[in-house]
């Protein structure tokens, strides 16, 4: 019972911290680009404002359009529940393994794309079509990267995989490096960051994710934005905890939990800085350059897999 409560607490922490991570990234980015930065708490204020505001629905929006924000939010929160954030061996990790996790994102993407087509504007359809294309190319990369890990750890359960990396100590595995790089590139593509998509733009010709959700407003938009921040955080936590799990707690004591909390906060802050650096030095790509970007990511993951099979089969 206490385990389930812990899992619930960890999920709540996950959901609550996601906007903060978004705020951190935005702040670092502003500093790096010599701009005045908003407060760390700005994303919370934005969400609060959206929750308070009136919701305007397009005249011909169907129930799919209204249900989508809730489904997307529900699926993303559940995805957050199965990812180990501060502690491993929590019971929620058994509900869904990493393949199901990918499935949650696919479910959310499916409904967002449908919602994009629901109103019948050209923007919505354009966004849906592009998002599905990017998703189609990114998902195999992600699975390939996690398969490399799953084969080494001989499990697809995230908690078990983290424990495995934790126990195997600091071994330099070429396959993990390839897989981690592949996963990071997917994280960039899937969470709609530069160079694949630009979350800050509403320029018609370049937007992907924003085009799909153009018709959303008020609390619906708030839920979708929040789910987006959560998704970015899940990807960063995956990279942080699966490949560099040190600091995560295996036992439930106050000291260990505090260590775990500090460790993950530090890792996420670092990854945030890395992401911002990447976004600052890169330019947004043309849409049809994205397949090459993701093709390269796939190649990295494939190399990781082959390295695992050829070089590390004895490990």
């Amino acid at each position: 019972m206490i385990d389930w409560l812990m899992a619930l607490a960890q999920t709540l922490l996950f959901v609550a911290m996601a906007p903060l991570l978004g705020g951190w990234i935005k702040r670092v980015k502003c500093h790096m680009q010599n701009r005045a930065a908003p407060s760390l708490w700005q994303p919370y204020r934005d969400l609060a404002k959206l929750f308070r505001k009136h919701t305007v629905l397009a005249a011909n929006a169907s129930w799919i359009f209204r249900a989508t924000p809730y489904i997307v939010f529900g699926a993303t929160v559940l995805a957050a529940a199965v990812v180990p954030l501060v502690a491993v061996n929590l019971p929620t990790a058994a509900i869904a393994d990493v393949i199901v996790l990918v499935g949650f994102f696919a479910l959310a993407r499916f409904f967002t794309a449908l919602a994009g087509m629901d109103i019948g504007t050209a923007f919505g359809g354009m966004g849906s079509s592009r998002e599905m294309m990017i998703g189609a190319l990114a998902e195999p990369v992600m699975l390939m990267a996690v398969f490399t890990l799953a084969m080494s750890a001989s499990t697809t359960n995230l908690s078990e995989a983290v424990t495995y990396t934790l126990n195997s100590g600091l071994v330099l595995r070429p396959s993990f490096i390839f897989a981690a790089l592949g996963l990071m590139m997917v994280a960039v593509a899937e969470s709609g960051r530069i160079p694949v998509d630009n979350p800050a733009t509403h320029l018609e010709l370049t937007m992907v994710h924003e085009a799909m959700i153009l018709e959303y407003s008020g609390r619906h938009l708030a839920l979708i934005e929040w789910a987006g921040q959560l998704k970015l955080m899940i990807y960063l936590v995956l990279v942080a905890n699966v490949f560099f799990p040190w600091g995560i707690t295996t036992e439930m004591s106050l000291d260990n939990l505090a260590t775990g909390l500090v460790a993950i906060a530090g890792k996420l802050a670092l990854l945030g800085v890395l992401l911002v650096t990447w976004e600052t030095v890169m330019a947004k790509m043309r849409l049809f350059r994205v397949p090459q970007f993701l093709g390269f990511a796939f190649l990295l993951s494939l190399l990781g897999m082959l390295t695992r099979v050829v070089l590390e089969s004895g490990l």
Partner: protein, 690 residues
């Protein structure tokens, strides 16, 4: 594993009960065919009489199949039909039972759907022979069920041909269109080329086994070479019927042109009967599985799923799209079987069981959601006579219930949790992830690549069905007919609703289902899955809880819980929702022509994977001669041709024609020449004999 089967075979013959239900089901199928002979005079006989018998047949088949799976000891029977020295041997074991209940389920659903759907066929203005539709539907079902019962090659081939030929008449049913006649002929031709290969495959087994009964075939030990030859022939024949790449070119022509409820049967279950044949032939009759066969299956399966889904993605005819998607799903099933064979052939029987279970689960899943989607396409066609996605739109408002069912079908076929399509894909991934257990480095690196192809196909399938649902059901109607569509009749909705509910149930309770279909690996391999359902109905743990676990009920509850919390929380402090116009960039109101069409939606994928298709794009611009810089109208036409047609079918067709012309040279048309031929043949034969 063979001793097991033989032992089981000797224990039987005391209890015929599941077989009695099976006979009644066969009788029901036959009766539904016979009763509709009078349909030309009394159209109600087709809509209600024939459907009533089909419904009874379906229910009986479900009961019989379920019983056979639970009973585990096969029931056999010998009927004094056929030739005097070749009696009909029938056998009903868990493998047959599994497929029997799937066929029964779909037939039952069809019987609910048909009365409403056939209304327009029985319209006085319709000149089609109604009796033919009913008769051949009945015979088609009878043939499929009989194939599953066959215990000797003779009955098997008779039933197989009954199934193929009767479905030919159904494909050719709307024969006014030349394209349908062509599709039907191609179907008949391919069915017989495949049938010939199957016959030869049985011939190899019968030649060594010394008899046509499956019992004799099971008892023989073939050399690896002969076993491989038999396997290759059977794989060619059954694979052709199942629509594997590159032999699939007939499938997307033939399946869509039949009436929709028959398309549902063809794509939903007839393909599965072919897979049944493959499983029966390899696992049961040949028995000694080589891992190389598995590699062949895995490669062809991966090619089928990727090409199938890519071709599906670019279609705009709904039924044709669904037919291509069947090719993809056959690919997933073949990959599961391939993994299973690789593991069995290398001695990892436990993992082989996992692969087999994944394939069987996908067979079940695909029958449900593809049946549902074809019936949905039928409902749309019935309501607004439209198959082209680019003329649809906004159906969610005109057909609200059909829209819900169709959405469930789309979610399931896209492999999204927590529906049934996801379970089988998850199991296939789990089987693929056990590749490190293999000794060969080549296999260890081949299998993960196949898994990546599966992942790509799954997402492309999701893209494909976002397109289908988004273009057909969402947005605004693109044509007047679709704008005036009406909701489907109650029976049609019942049929679709039943399948939709089953898609959800089989997605949420996979452990319970696997607990029942365990009987099949038990029967074929003498071993059940290690612990798939060992941790209760809530958990699916195919190898062990440490390796992987999935709890579909908790996933559903979790998503709903978090969504409801968000909803309730926002509801309490809700501010009213206002309706307004969508954003139109300030250019004035939007119309239905401004929406993304199906072609536009799949364009990015079309551009990335361009070499896959034979594409012909025609863009015609009409310009005003007075103002040469202004375009008055643009006409865009996209033609997609299947590469297997131009690369494989046409060259072979030309070869056959050329050979026929050469042989034709000896036919002079003069009786003297033919007499001379006979004379010299006689001389030659006499010389050979002496």
């Amino acid at each position: 594993m063979r001793e097991h089967a033989v032992r089981a075979h000797h224990r039987i013959q005391k209890d015929l009960s599941p077989l009695i239900f099976a006979y009644l089901a066969l009788a029901g199928a036959l009766a539904s065919g016979v009763v509709s002979l009078g349909a030309d005079r009394y159209p109600h006989l087709l809509r209600y009489g024939s459907s009533l018998f089909l419904g009874a047949c379906g229910l009986l088949a479900i009961v019989a199949g379920g019983w056979a799976m639970i009973d585990e000891t096969p029931a056999t029977d010998v009927l004094a039909l056929g030739l005097p020295w070749l009696k009909w041997h029938l056998r009903f074991d868990p493998l047959s039972g599994f497929f029997f209940s799937i066929v029964g389920l779909l037939v039952f659903v069809i019987s609910l759907f048909a009365p409403g759907y056939l209304r327009e066929f029985t319209h006085p203005g319709n000149k089609q022979a109604l009796s033919a539709l009913g008769l051949f539907s009945g015979l088609f079902v009878l043939g499929m069920l009989l194939v599953l019962l066959a215990d000797d090659a003779f009955v098997f081939m008779i039933a197989w041909e009954l199934m193929s030929v009767s479905s030919y008449f159904l494909v050719a049913y709307q024969h006014q269109h030349a394209a349908n006649r062509r599709a039907a002929f191609l179907y008949l031709l391919m069915a017989h080329v495949g049938g010939l290969a199957i016959l030869l495959g049985f011939g190899v087994l019968a030649g060594f086994g010394g008899g046509f009964t499956f019992e004799a075939m099971r008892a023989t030990d073939l050399s690896v070479t002969w076993a491989s030859i038999a396997f290759a022939l059977a794989f060619f024949g059954f694979g052709m019927k199942a629509g594997m790449v590159p032999l699939h070119a007939w499938l997307q022509e033939a399946h869509p042109v039949a009436p929709s409820h028959i398309s549902a049967l063809m794509s939903g279950v007839m393909i599965k009967v072919a897979i049944y044949g493959l499983i029966r032939f390899t696992y049961d009759l040949v028995g000694d599985i080589q891992w190389q066969w598995g590699v062949v299956l895995l490669i062809i399966g991966s090619a089928s799923m990727l090409l199938g889904v890519l071709y599906a993605l670019i279609q705009n005819n709904l039924k044709r799209l669904l037919a291509y998607s069947s090719i993809e799903n056959v690919g997933i099933i073949l990959s599961g079987l391939g993994l299973s064979m690789i593991f069995i052939g290398t001695g990892h029987t436990v993992l082989g069981v996992l692969g087999l279970l994944a394939a069987l689960y996908h067979i079940l899943s695909h029958a449900l959601f593809k049946g549902l989607l074809f019936l949905g396409a039928g409902a749309i066609a019935h309501s607004c006579h439209e198959y082209d996605l680019n003329n649809m739109g906004g159906l969610i408002r005109r057909m609200p219930q059909t829209a819900v069912f169709f959405l469930i079908g789309c979610l399931a076929i896209s492999g999204l949790p927590p529906l049934n399509g996801f379970v089988s894909e998850w199991l296939t991934f789990q089987a693929a992830l056990q590749a490190p257990a293999l000794e060969s480095g080549v296999l260890r690196s081949l299998i993960p690549i196949a898994a990546a192809v599966l992942a790509l196909s799954a997402v492309l399938a999701a893209t494909c069905f976002v397109k289908v649902y988004g273009v057909a059901f969402l947005g605004q109607a693109r044509s007047r007919r679709v704008g005036h569509a009406h909701e489907a009749a109650i029976g049609m909705r019942l049929g679709m609703g039943l399948l939709a509910v089953l898609c959800v149930l089989f997605g949420i309770f996979p452990s319970a289902v696997i607990g029942v279909i365990d009987a099949i690996p038990n029967q074929l391999l003498g071993q059940g899955p290690p612990s798939a359902a060992a941790h209760g109905w809530m958990w699916l743990t195919p190898i062990s809880p440490r390796v992987a676990s999935y709890s579909a009920p908790l996933v559903l509850v979790g998503i709903l819980l978090f969504a409801l919390i968000a909803y309730a929380w926002l509801r309490v402090r809700a501010v009213n929702i206002r309706r307004g116009d969508p954003w139109d960039c300030g250019f004035g109101s939007l119309n239905s022509r401004m929406q993304y069409t199906g072609t536009a939606f799949s364009m990015p994928i079309q551009r990335i994977f361009a070499p896959v298709w034979d594409l012909k794009v025609d863009v015609e611009e009409t310009r005003n001669p007075a103002q040469p810089l202004r375009t008055d109208g643009i006409r865009h036409q996209l033609q997609v041709h299947d590469k297997s047609w131009s690369r494989l079918y046409e060259p072979i067709g030309h070869l056959v024609l050329a050979a026929a012309r050469r042989i034709g040279l000896i036919q002079t048309g003069s009786i003297h020449t033919y007499l001379a031929y006979s004379f010299f043949t006689l001389i030659l034969l006499l010389w050979v004999v002496t």
